[in-house]
Structure formats: structure tokens, C-alpha cells
Amino acid sequence: MKIRSYYWILLMCMVMGFILAMQFRVTRDMQITPDLDRPIALAQELYQARKSRDQLQARVDELRNQLDNAVTGPELSRLKEELDEARQEAGMKEVQGAGVEVTLNDSNKVLQPGENPNFFVLHDGDVLRVLNELKAAGAKAISLNGQRIISTTEVRCIGPTILVNKNQRLSPPFIISAVGNPETLSNSLTMKNGVVDYLQFWSIQVDVKKVDKLVVPAYTGDLVFDYAKPKI
């Protein structure tokens, strides 16, 4: 009887030892996970960084304006014209004109059991397809939710939002404005087996609207190259 009870206690001690060890490990792992304060602190820092980014951006806009206004004399005016042309090509000028407005949004389809909801969500690839189709149809200038699409623009899905021009976060609905011949642009999107057909297969909401007057804003960011050098 006495020996049996010692066995019990031995067993209990072993179980307790095991639990203690596990507890210890869990507690230690927890220190690696950042606690709730950290994301909040980061979010605040991000907010500050965004604010000072906007201030710097405003300063750049102002300096570009000053530079343009400082130009006098015929020789400089000629250069200024070339500069304006180059800016047009680079997407640094606002463009107005007729065109199309494409509105994209996630599917509102009620999913059947077993269907993958991911298939019915708008992906960055879908936006790229629409942009590409518009470019192929001769769009002069394109913007996505007010962000000008330039050569280096990337479209990245982060959760339900899209990130373009490095860190401009956009949320649905996504409105693509393209200046160009409205007829050509809209036909290229809505042709049979075209992009609209493809997107509607996944019941993604697409709406193509011809518009008489559109404004596509300018790209105003920096023009800094860290790696590329002009070749003379």
C-alpha cells in the first residue's frame, strides 16, 4: 500500500515536471511575439512618417513650380518646352480629355459550400490585365483611384487593399480612369473573350463607362535613381 502510493506521487511529479517544462517554454516563446503595444507604436510612427512625407512632397511641388517660373529669355523657354514635353511622357503632367472609367470590385456572389472564396476576389493580376488592355488600346494616361500609372508603377495586393507607386494604399472600389478614344478603349475591354468577360466569369463586378471629360492627375513623386545611370 505504501509503495503503491509512492508510485502515484512519482507519476504526479513526472506529469507536473512535464507541465512545468512546457509552461516554461510557452512563456519564453511569448516574449518573442511582440505584444500589442508594438504594432500600435509602429502605427503611430507610420502616421508621423506619412505626415512628414507629405510635407516633403509639398516642398518638392513648390520647388518645381519655382523652377518653372524662374525661366526667362528665349533660350531658356526652348529648354522649358522640351522639359514640358518630357514631363508629359513621364506622366508628370495632368491630362484631361475624353476616355473611359472602369470600376472594379470584389464579387458579391453568394458562395456555395466548397467554393474557394479566393477565386471571387479581385486580384492584382486582374487590375494589371485591365491596365494592360487600356495601354494596348492606346490610352494616353491612366490613373487608379487618383494615382497616376507611370512606367515603374507596381500593383500589389495586401489583404483587401492595393498598394501602388510604392506606398500609396488604395481600397475598393477601384476606379481606373483612362484618357483616350472612349470607343476604342471600351471596345477593347468588352470584346468577346476579353478582360471583362474573363472577370465576369469569376463574378467580379466590372463596369465600363464612357466619359466625355476626365482628369488624370500628374505623378508628383521623386525622380531619384540609385542604380541606373544615363549612358552618354
Binding site: 500500500m1 505504501k2 506521487i9 506529469v15 507536473m16 512546457m22 509552461q23 510557452v26 516563446d29 511569448m30 511575439t33 505584444d35 504594432p39 509602429l42 510612427e45 507610420l46 512618417a49 506619412r50 512628414s52 512625407r53 512632397q57 518638392v60 520647388l63 518645381r64 524662374a70 525661366v71 529669355g73 533660350e75 529648354l79 522639359l83 518630357a86 514631363r87 511622357e89 513621364a90 506622366g91 508628370m92 494589371l128 494592360n132 488592355e133 495601354k135 494596348a136 512606367s151 515603374t152 508603377t153 507596381e154 500593383v155 495586401i158 510604392k166 506606398n167 513623386g221 521623386d222 525622380l223 531619384v224 535613381f225 540609385d226 542604380y227 541606373a228 545611370k229 544615363p230 549612358k231
Partner: protein, 226 residues
Amino acid sequence: MPQKTSMYVSIMLVAAVLGLMLSVQFRAVNHASNGISIDRAQELTVELKQINKEKEDLSIEISDLTFKLNQIKQGQTEAISALQSELNKVRMNAGLITVSGPGIELVLDKPDTNTGDTQISPELMIIQDEYLLSALNELWGAGAEAISINGQRIIATTEVRQAGSFININLNRVVPPYQILAIGNPQELMDTLGITGGLQEYWRDLGIKVSLEKHDDLTLPAYGKK
């Protein structure tokens, strides 16, 4: 009988400690499940890094513009050179100037047709415009500064569009193998394509021949010139 009592007492004691530990453990694990914040923290850190990079670039832009403004005020010749330099910068951004720098070379080629591997249908093995578009998107996202495909510089209005069995870029017909040159941080550009589950793996699974190399000095043509 006293022995039995002492045994019950000791078991009760052990059970009480065990219960306490269980509840502490439970609370600890519960607390740890707030660890979803690790994603959030990561996301925020990435965003913060990019904003700080943009701030840095904007500051460079500001000092550059300030310098040029001062030059313009100094006199005619200085003003001309300041404007000329601004013009070159904008042209470079528009892709109107030949550029060189370090970067990567990515080549995509059709799979050999006679391998007898019938698992993948032949339509999938054609390199579609989509593959090139997603490659471009990934590379821009990783900070590429200039890209060309088969000698066609990619600019704001460049399309990459399937037209039958070939692809049109800048209204020029290009055929495989597709050679994509990108200037930027070579390591970052490599990494964005090469990560597990990334595009390189996807293309290889489709049977497309992929080669990815770093280069110290690449030259990309200007838009509109061969």
C-alpha cells in the same frame, strides 16, 4: 487510517497545484494568441521602411531642385545647364534615355516540345503575356528602375499583349526567348522572383525554361530606339 488521510491530502495538494498551473498556462496561451499582431507589426515595418525610403528620396529631390534654383539665379549659362540637367532627369524617368547600371537578366524560353511529358497541356507551355506582366510587376515592386524586354524599353504606356502566337510590346512583335533586363538592386530583384512559391518556381512547374542571373553592368535602350 491516518496514512490514508495523508495520502488524500497529498493528492489534493498536487491536484490543487496542477489546477493552478493549468489555469496559468491557459491564460498564457490565450494571451499568446494575440500573436496575430506579429503579421501586423511586420506589415507596418515594411510600410514604414518604404515611406522612410521615399522621404529620403524626396529630400534628395529637394536639395537637387534647390541647387538648380540657385544656379538659375546666377546667370544665363548656369541657368541653361540647370534646366538641361532637370530635362535629362525627367527624360530618364520617362525612359527616353539609354541607361546603364547593375541588375538582373531573366530569360524565359519555350519548353522543349519533344520531352514527352504530357502532364501539362501545350497551351499552358506557351509563354503568355500574363507571365511577362507579372514578372514586370514583381520587378517594379522590388524597386527596379528601368526594364526592357527583348530590347523594348518599358515606359508608362507600354503594353505587353498576346496577339496570336507572339507578343506585342510597344507595338513591336517579340518572340521567345524573352530576355528581360532590369536595373536595380540585383539581390532584391533576384529575391523577389526566386522566393519559395514565387514566380520562378511557378514557371518551372509549368515547364518553362527559366534562367536568372545577376549582372554588374547592364545597358538598356531608350524607348523608340533599337
